[in-house]
């Protein structure tokens, strides 16, 4: 499509007509500042196509303040080589005329034709809105809406699809999506997204399961009922048989027979027991007789033994007597030996005692001599001590006195010096013979006198001169000197010396005496620490001890000289010999005692044995005893004969009883009794069980289980049929949804391919390496851009405003290419497009627009003409176009 001429009149700011011709078939750029009329021109073109000529809603076209105007638009354009002239007048006497190569369409017919030609619809009434705009709505970009594309695409999708199909030569389904939606809805009513049953399908499945459970429950109850019936039948049969046969009677009869037999056996057992008792008595008697006979035998044996015993006792007594005599003789020898040993020991001991006393005497004498020497030394020292103390007393001088004396002396010396310094010097040089008297003293010759107090100088014959020393304190000094001198005298007297030097000497002598005294005291302390008296006592004690020892020694007699040679060596050896002799004597003493006691025992035994033997001999020889023995022997023979007879009878009887097994017979009786009891009990219990079963079955039978089951089964089958039908429907819907989606996806892919191709023509210029997906409604989808090794996916809406505007334009150009390829008219109008693009992107977009302009006519309106000077076309200023012409 190519717009060749535009003329508008009485529209907004164009009260006068505006005509634009000489449109180029490619890019046409119109520039002008805001309010210059760019948008009015765009609005006029849109109104010419979209608005119904009859509508009263387009008052926005009116010039300002002129409500009676008749906005008029004239458009000349070419499509596929055919020339069209569109003339449209709105509001006041509205009309629409379309001429196509001599063909004239008027009014609504003209509008319908236009719509089909360009691919848009008209509003049923009122103002045309976006949803009617179709293809032009997509290709004519209004100011500030370049980034919005999805809605425009949605409104144009059908037209785009139609174009695509023409290009593809295939037919898309007109109903497909609606059908698919319905099928999905139907399926969703039966299945969840994950394919699980829901709604009616789930309900009917649950109903099937529930009825199935009920059926199984009923089956189980019916089975129980049947089993109980069978059980009852079997029990009833058994009961009838027992009622007839009465099996317990046979057991009773068998028991009675056994009991009779058992009674016979009991009688025989009693006889046997009596025989056994008699036998036991006989055996007891036999034992008694035998015991008595045995006692006779034992006495005979005892007599023999007693004889032998007596003989042995005689022998033993003899031996004991001999033994005792021998030991008594030995004892006498040993007593002599002991006496000798004791004598030797006594001698040795006395000798040793004497030697010890003499030793002690020597020691004591030494001690005595030492004590005497010490005592003499001590006496000397005590004397010295006493002398020294006297000397010290005589030299005694108090140290305080001495100090005071020393200070007085010192003060006097100082006083004298001060007096001399302050004294009036009286120098005189008297002629010989001349004498002066001063205070009574006579001065002659030459000399000096210091005057410390007023003196009267008597000049002979001249009178007197009184000299008073000038220093005021001289008199005080003199006074002090007097005092000090008096004190010095007092102290010297007290000490008892004449001078300080003498006092010092005495003090030195005193110290030396005291030192000597200390030395003497130290010696004394060493020599007699406990004093002289202690020493004296020790000496007297030693003296008395020595006297004692001498007395002791005197008492110890000297050993007789003749026996000295017989001394058995040392005291220890004598001691040992004595001990041995004593212990030998003790040992022998014990043996002697024992031997004597043995002899006594042996004699006693002999007496007893002799007596016992005699007694027994008497007893055995008694004739009554002999008679008794004879009687016992006869009795024994009789008893044994009776035992033999009775024993045989008992054995025979026992064997017979063993054969008859009374224990087993007892068991038989118990067994038959229990069997009869058991049979009766079984019968009774069975009767109860039958009654129970009958009543249970009556109750169960009245429930009509099988009839109920038949009913439930019908319901179950109906439910299953319903479930199968629904399940089949669900499966069919599954299949339909799957197939519809598959086929639809296949078709969509085929449809999108050409658009993708056109899109790929532009996209690399803007986003090198990028890929733009196409949504199902053919609108742009995710943008994939290389980002390092991977690709970055951005949804269209997530892109920046500028990028969306750029992609929106690229997409529209691709749609235009697609439409063009399908032989559809394309006109692209860009009103103030790409104002949000940065310079580098704008450069790319300009290349893209330039390329598109080689295939499509593009009207570009801008208020930034400087941006578009490099598009190779002249930029027309709206202001200049307004000039009437």
């Amino acid at each position: 499509m190519k717009l060749t001429r535009l003329r508008i009149e009485q529209i907004r700011q164009f009260r006068q007509s505006l005509t634009i011709d000489s449109f180029s078939s490619g890019l046409n750029i119109f520039a002008g500042p805001n309010e210059s009329g760019k948008s009015t021109i765009v609005r006029a073109i849109r109104a010419a196509f979209f608005e119904r000529y009859k509508t009263q809603k387009v008052t926005d076209l009116l010039p300002w303040g002129d409500s009676s105007a008749a906005p008029r638009i004239e458009l000349d354009f070419e499509i596929g080589g055919a020339h069209f002239q569109l003339r449209k007048v709105f509001l006041k006497s509205p009309r629409c005329d379309l001429d196509r190569a001599g063909h004239h369409f008027a009014g609504e017919e003209a509008e319908q034709y236009l719509g089909q030609l360009l691919g848009f619809e008209f509003a049923a009434k009122g103002e045309s809105r976006a949803q009617h705009w179709g293809i032009p709505g997509l290709l004519w970009i209004e100011q500030g809406s370049g980034q919005e594309i999805h809605q425009a695409v949605a409104f144009a999708t059908d037209h785009l699809r139609a174009a695509l199909q023409e290009e593809l030569g295939s037919v898309a389904s007109s109903e497909g999506d609606a059908v698919l939606d319905t099928v999905r809805d139907w399926r969703a009513a039966l299945r969840t997204a994950t394919g699980k049953p829901r709604g009616e399908l789930a309900d009917s499945q649950a109903a099937c399961a529930e009825l199935g459970d009920r059926l199984r429950d009923l089956d189980a109850r019916i089975e129980t009922y049947r089993q109980q019936v069978d059980q009852l039948g079997a029990l009833q049969a058994d009961q009838n048989r027992d009622d007839q046969d009465k099996p317990w009677d046979a057991f009773d009869r068998a028991r009675v027979a056994a009991e009779t037999k058992r009674a016979e056996l009991a009688e025989r057992e009693r006889g046997l027991r009596a025989d056994r008792q008699r036998l036991a008595e006989l055996e007891t008697q036999r034992t008694l007789v035998q015991e008595q006979l045995t006692a006779v035998d034992r006495r005979q044996q005892a007599l023999t033994r007693r004889a032998a015993d007596e003989k042995q006792a005689v022998a033993e007594r003899q031996a004991a007597v001999v033994d005792a005599d021998r030991l008594v003789a030995q004892q006498a020898e040993l007593i002599a030996i002991v006496r000798t040993a004791r004598l030797g020991y006594e001698r040795c001991r006395q000798q040793a005692d004497r030697e010890a006393v003499m030793q002690q005497m020597a020691t004591t004498e030494n001690e005595l001599a030492r004590y005497s020497a010490q005592l003499a030394e001590a006496d000397r020292l005590y004397q010295a001590q006493s002398d020294l103390r006297v000397e010290a007393q005589s030299l005694a001088v108090a140290p305080s006195d001495l100090d005071a004396l020393r200070r007085c002396q010192q003060s006097l010396r100082e006083n004298a010096i001060r007096q001399e310094a302050g004294a009036t010097r009286l120098a005189f040089d008297l002629d010989s013979g001349v004498a002066l008297t001063v205070d009574g003293r006579t001065l002659t010759g030459k000399g000096e006198q210091l005057l410390v107090r007023p003196v009267s100088l008597v000049l002979p014959k001249l009178g007197r001169i009184r000299i008073e020393p000038g220093g005021s304190d001289l008199s005080q000094l003199a006074e002090a000197a007097t005092g000090l001198t008096a004190e010095t005298q007092r102290l010297l007297q007290r000490i008892g010396v004449d001078s300080l030097a003498e006092a010092e000497q005495r003090f030195v002598a005193l110290r030396r005496v005291r030192q000597s005294l200390q030395e003497v005291e130290r010696e004394l302390a060493q020599l007699a620490p406990e004093g002289r008296d202690a020493l004296a006592i020790a000496r007297s004690e030693a003296q008395s001890r020595l006297a004692g020892l001498k007395a002791t020694l005197a008492r110890l007699s000297e050993p007789p000289q003749d026996e000295m040679s017989a001394m058995p060596g040392t005291l220890a050896e004598a001691q040992h010999a004595l001990d041995q002799a004593l212990s030998g004597q003790a040992a022998l003493q014990a043996q002697v005692q024992e031997a004597i006691s043995r002899r006594a025992v042996a004699e006693a035994r002999w007496e007893v044995a002799q007596r016992e033997h005699a007694e027994l001999q008497g007893l055995v020889a008694d004739p009554a005893e002999q008679q008794r023995i004879q009687t016992h022997r006869q009795r024994l023979v009789d008893i044994q004969a009776e035992i033999a007879v009775l024993g045989e009878r008992v054995a025979t009887q026992q064997a017979a009883l063993d054969q008859a097994r009374p224990d087993i017979l007892d068991q038989d009786i118990a067994r038959y009794r229990q069997s009869a009891q058991q049979a009766r009990q079984t019968f009774d219990e069975r009767r109860i069980r039958i009654a129970q079963l009958q009543s249970a079955l009556q109750v169960a039978g009245a429930q009509g289980l099988e009839e109920e089951r038949a009913g439930v089964q019908l319901e179950h089958e109906a439910a299953e049929r319903r479930f199968r039908e629904l399940e089949r429907r669900a499966q069919a819907l599954d299949l339909l949804v799957r197939l519809l989606e598959e086929k639809r996806a296949e078709l969509t892919r085929r449809l999108q391919a050409p658009l993708q191709r056109h899109l790929d023509h532009y996209l690399p210029l803007l986003f090198p390496g990028g890929a733009l997906a196409i949504e199902e409604d053919l609108s742009p989808g995710d943008l994939a851009r290389p980002n390092g090794a991977s690709a970055e996916h951005l949804s269209y809406d997530a892109l920046s405003f500028g990028a969306r505007e750029q992609l929106g334009l690229v997409s529209r150009l691709a749609y235009a290419d697609l439409l063009k390829a399908a032989g559809r008219p394309t006109l692209i109008i860009l009103d103030d497009a790409l104002v949000h693009s940065d310079p580098s992107r704008l450069v790319q977009m300009k290349r893209i627009i330039f390329d598109a302009a080689t295939r499509h006519q593009i009207l570009l309106f801008t208020c930034h003409p400087a941006d578009w000077t490099d598009m190779g076309v002249s930029i027309r200023q709206i202001e200049q176009l307004r000039a009437p012409g």
Binding site: V179, Y225, E706, E707, A710, Q713, Q731, K743, L747
Partner: protein
């Protein structure tokens, strides 16, 4: 003398495979059939009615069902002899003992609960009974008939329930066997049998009456009772069947191949009425319009007949070009329809895991219906 011979009333039987609305009347009809038998006995002035087993369908019916059965006998005051069969065997506790406990057995109704010779001197006959006292037995319960002495001058009639050996089903071990020549060996004038639900005469003196009201899709002359007339001992019985049953159980097998096959099906179905019970199985192939028409027809038939089972699992729906044009299925919808058709053709040979042909047919039907509905509004408006 003449008697009515019937059997296998199966009172309490429920009918599976049908809509519950249909199953209930079918079950109720069995009582009505008994009432019709009583009415027939009355009108034909028979001397007795012998029922050869399976009076009841099961042992544990509700009390009300038992009462209702005995009420249904009221129309005939003459003697009834009811024989327990395998469904209602005379067990130690059975539906019979329950009926006795309920005291609902009228004095003219004789329960043959044990093998016995039941004399009816007024009628001039003696009935030898062979009731089942166990659910199944492999002994011939009629054997004792051979040695049973009965008063001379009375017609000997045997009453038994089981399968005649060598004549009925080939299974040798069939329970409840009856010797094929029992009538002869036991010198019976007539042996009235039950168990086989169809009417079947074994020999001149032996017959199965069948059930008086059909209960299955088998063309075996069910739904009748036998009037048996015997002039005296030794005379051959004259046997006359009477129709009692109301419902006709029809099994219809239709293979659709050419358009006229559908027309024939239409004719068959439109001929059916409320006394028909239908088992329909349609196979072959049809186009969409045929399918639609058939669906309408089936729905109409189901509403008209007493009960219906229908099976279309072997039917393939193949839309024609005209169908598709009619549906205006274009674009990928057309692709889907083609795919569904192809899947139907694959039949059982479809790859495992893939939806079976039946599902494909269902899907195709659904899709076609949906497309048709989407076109419908215009037409509906016109009609509305």
């Amino acid at each position: 003398m003449k008697i009515l011979h019937t059997a296998d009333w199966q009172i309490g039987r429920q009918y599976s495979g049908f809509d519950p609305d249909d199953a209930a009347p079918l079950a109720a009809e069995r009582y009505l059939a008994v009432e019709r038998i009583a009415a027939l006995a009355q009108s034909r002035q028979v001397d007795a009615v012998l029922v050869a087993g399976d009076v009841f369908d099961s042992q544990t019916l509700r009390d009300i069902s038992i009462r209702r059965l005995f009420n249904s006998l009221e129309g005939y005051a003459g003697p009834w002899v009811l024989l327990p069969g395998n469904h209602d065997a005379a067990l130690v506790e059975s539906i019979w003992t329950r009926a006795q406990r309920l005291a609902v057995v009228p004095s003219n109704v004789h329960l043959a609960l044990q093998p016995e010779a039941m004399p009816f001197p007024d009628v001039g006959m003696v009935v030898l009974t062979a009731p089942l006292t166990q659910r199944h037995t492999f002994a011939d319960l009629t054997a004792w008939f051979d040695n049973a002495d009965t008063p001379t001058g009375l017609v000997r009639i045997g009453l038994a329930h089981g399968s005649v050996q060598g004549v009925m089903a080939a299974d040798i071990d069939a329970p409840n066997p009856i010797a094929a020549n029992r009538a002869e060996t036991a010198r019976l004038d007539y042996l009235a049998l039950g168990d086989w639900h169809g009417l079947k005469q074994i020999d001149a003196r032996t017959a199965y009456s069948g059930t008086p009201e059909s209960d299955r899709f088998r063309n075996n002359d069910a739904g009748q009772v036998l009037e048996v007339e015997i002039d005296g001992p030794g005379a051959l019985p004259r046997i006359t069947p009477h129709r009692i049953g109301r419902y006709r159980w029809q099994a219809l097998r239709v293979d659709l191949n050419v358009p006229s096959d559908l027309e024939r099906l239409v004719a068959s179905l439109t001929a059916l009425n409320g006394d028909d019970v239908l088992d329909l199985r349609v196979s072959g192939r049809t186009d969409l319009s045929g399918q639609t028409r058939m669906q309408d027809l089936i729905a109409a038939t189901a509403a008209r007949v007493r009960g219906m089972r229908a099976d279309f699992s072997d039917l393939h729906v193949q839309p024609t070009e005209a169908d598709l044009a009619d549906l205006q299925a274009d674009g990928y919808l057309a692709d889907v329809i083609a795919e569904l058709q192809a899947r139907q053709q694959r039949g059982p040979a479809s790859p495992p895991g893939d939806a079976p042909a039946e599902i494909a047919r269902e899907a195709l039907t659904l899709l076609a219906g949906l497309l048709k509905d989407r076109q419908a509004p215009v037409g509906d408006e016109v009609r509305g």
